[in-house]
Homo-oligomer: 340 residues x 2
């Protein structure tokens, strides 16, 4: 039975610094009715990702901001519950970007059917979705790792970081993670198989810790965090190192100045390159097939941090920006019909 | 007649910040005698370049530091005055890196004969030497300019900058210079043919001035200076812009923090890449032939700032770090036998 109403999270205030729960409002609205060519989707998993902090800002960027009073954007995995679209029927599992809401009309901007027999459907929001593709193209295309090189990744137990290190191992590299706290570090090293993991919260001199962990220096730095953690890695770059600029989560709530690295990059011949995973859209299919094989064979492991209930999305998102999550953060908005 | 002694400049102190004349000592030493396979070269032109500030530092870099009591390194053009080397005879004009001294034994690390009928011999230290090659490979290989794009270069009237803008025009781009003072800016625009030149000393809001001069944004930024001037350009980058990291002269005497750009580079998909011209050594020959043609045809113009006498080298170098020079700085240590 489809209820008469559902809940969604709208943006009500643009935070100048730290995000607060009061920046969001949870509202209950009437259930929408699919028109011709539309489907009604019940969202099962909502992906929470650091890029969403950028959408809360009223600034020109690579994507439009969320308007005040609008539903927060976000990647989703859900179940078609009604369809007036010839390509979809009730019961189909679909990936899309339908936002922070329990139900939504589709097709949205990225509707794609999922075969639940391949892998748990939540992975379409993570390892077999945007974060996984970010790791894959970021490391392999931007990072250009070569066998025997040393790859360092920050936020190493996060949605992207945990994949980067495992892909680095597959490429024949040493993989060094940086994560916050002993539990995350133990997971990164013992479960994911990184060669080492540095606990940035425990190290007084992080640059020296990176140096100690990277006896041959750093050839590829996959940067998810920016700020002082990155400074510690950048101080240890080898000649011709590649810096993969994926995110700067430590800087999303602040505008603190930092050391100027451009001068160092000259003599070291560093290449620092920013990217957005969409740029590789046309090449997702083979990459997803390869990642799917690695998941099914157990070659790649993946940890998710699943919170229940849309009412907990704002708090979970705020925790994500602080690094409180352990693994890829998702919100489960309702029962998973595949039971996985 | 070859004198019995000659003068040279040695490093006597590593400056922690601003360079002072007292960091150098000018000493008079006996004239060396070429052994078998050696030549004695009278240096005519000594090139003064910003990279030399790095050699005064006792830090691991892409090149070894100058030792205390050692002759300062530097590119030179000179005349062979004695030869015990089968490949050279008295009267040959040669390019090399013989350092801050009036005479030196060669062959040094980069000895190469120059044909004075092709171009003024001093150009082998500048347009047809290291600075010219830096502009050529930095812009064309690292910058990857495309017709119709906008190229911005800082230190636009300097040894490298004046070439970068002209090469950008040859590539079909808009060329915008940044330089200090109305005379330099007028030269850059009127004589060199840049589309515009911004006087960073006159602008209160440099980022807005860059924006006004670059109606379509900045596609390539060739960075010779770093620091606040670069911040103003980086604030105006287009998506997929290339930042050619050539030098950071504004930062060589300081360690002031600055804005963190890595987060911006993510969404803009910026590529910032440092380089050293030596990396392109194997490809100098065709580039030099091309540049030589452009010079002879008048397609590329070039301004030099020639100071006379080795005793003035330290003061001229200090002025270079402050941007006092106007054009490529060289020191003429003695008469130019080609008379040009």
């Amino acid at each position: 039975m489809i209820p008469k109403t559902h809940r969604r999270v709208v943006l009500v205030r643009r935070p100048p610094g730290e995000v607060a729960e009061s920046d969001f409002h949870i509202e209950e609205v009437p259930m929408p009715e699919p028109g011709p060519g539309q489907v009604l989707v019940r969202v099962v998993y909502l992906s929470l990702d650091p890029y969403m902090r950028g959408r809360m800002r009223d600034a020109a960027s690579y994507a439009a901001p969320v308007g005040i009073g609008e539903v927060m954007t976000g990647g989703t995995v859900g179940e078609v519950v009604r369809s007036s679209h010839p390509g979809y029927k009730a019961g189909d599992m679909v990936e899309d970007r339908l936002g922070w809401q329990e139900y939504a009309l589709g097709p949205g901007p990225a509707m794609r059917k999922i075969d639940p027999s391949h892998a748990p459907i939540s992975l379409s929001n993570s390892l077999l979705g945007m974060p996984g593709m970010t790791a894959y193209f970021g490391l392999y295309e931007i990072g250009q790792p070569k066998p025997g090189e040393t790859v360092v990744v920050s936020a190493a137990s996060g949605a992207v970081g945990q994949v980067v290190g495992q892909l680095a191992k597959i490429a024949g590299c040493r993989a060094i993670g940086i994560a916050g706290g002993p539990n995350k570090c133990a997971f990164v090293k013992d479960t994911l198989g990184f060669d080492a993991c540095i606990d940035y919260k425990a190290e007084k001199d992080l640059a020296s810790a990176v140096k100690a962990a990277c006896a041959n220096g750093v050839d590829v730095y996959f940067d998810n965090v920016g700020g002082p953690v990155s400074d510690a890695v950048l101080a240890n770059l080898n000649f011709y190192a590649r810096v993969v600029l994926c995110g700067s989560i430590s800087q999303y709530n602040t505008a603190e100045p930092g050391p100027r690295w451009m001068g160092t990059f000259v003599g070291k011949r560093t290449t620092a390159r920013g990217f957005i995973v969409w740029d590789f859209n046309a090449r997702y299919a083979p990459a997803l097939r390869q990642m799917g094989e690695w998941v099914r064979s157990g070659r790649i492991k993946y940890k998710q941090d699943i919170v229940e209930g849309i009412e907990n999305a704002p708090r979970a998102f705020i925790g994500l920006l602080r690094g409180d999550n352990f693994g890829k953060l998702q919100v489960k908005l309702g029962p998973d019909p595949t039971g996985r």
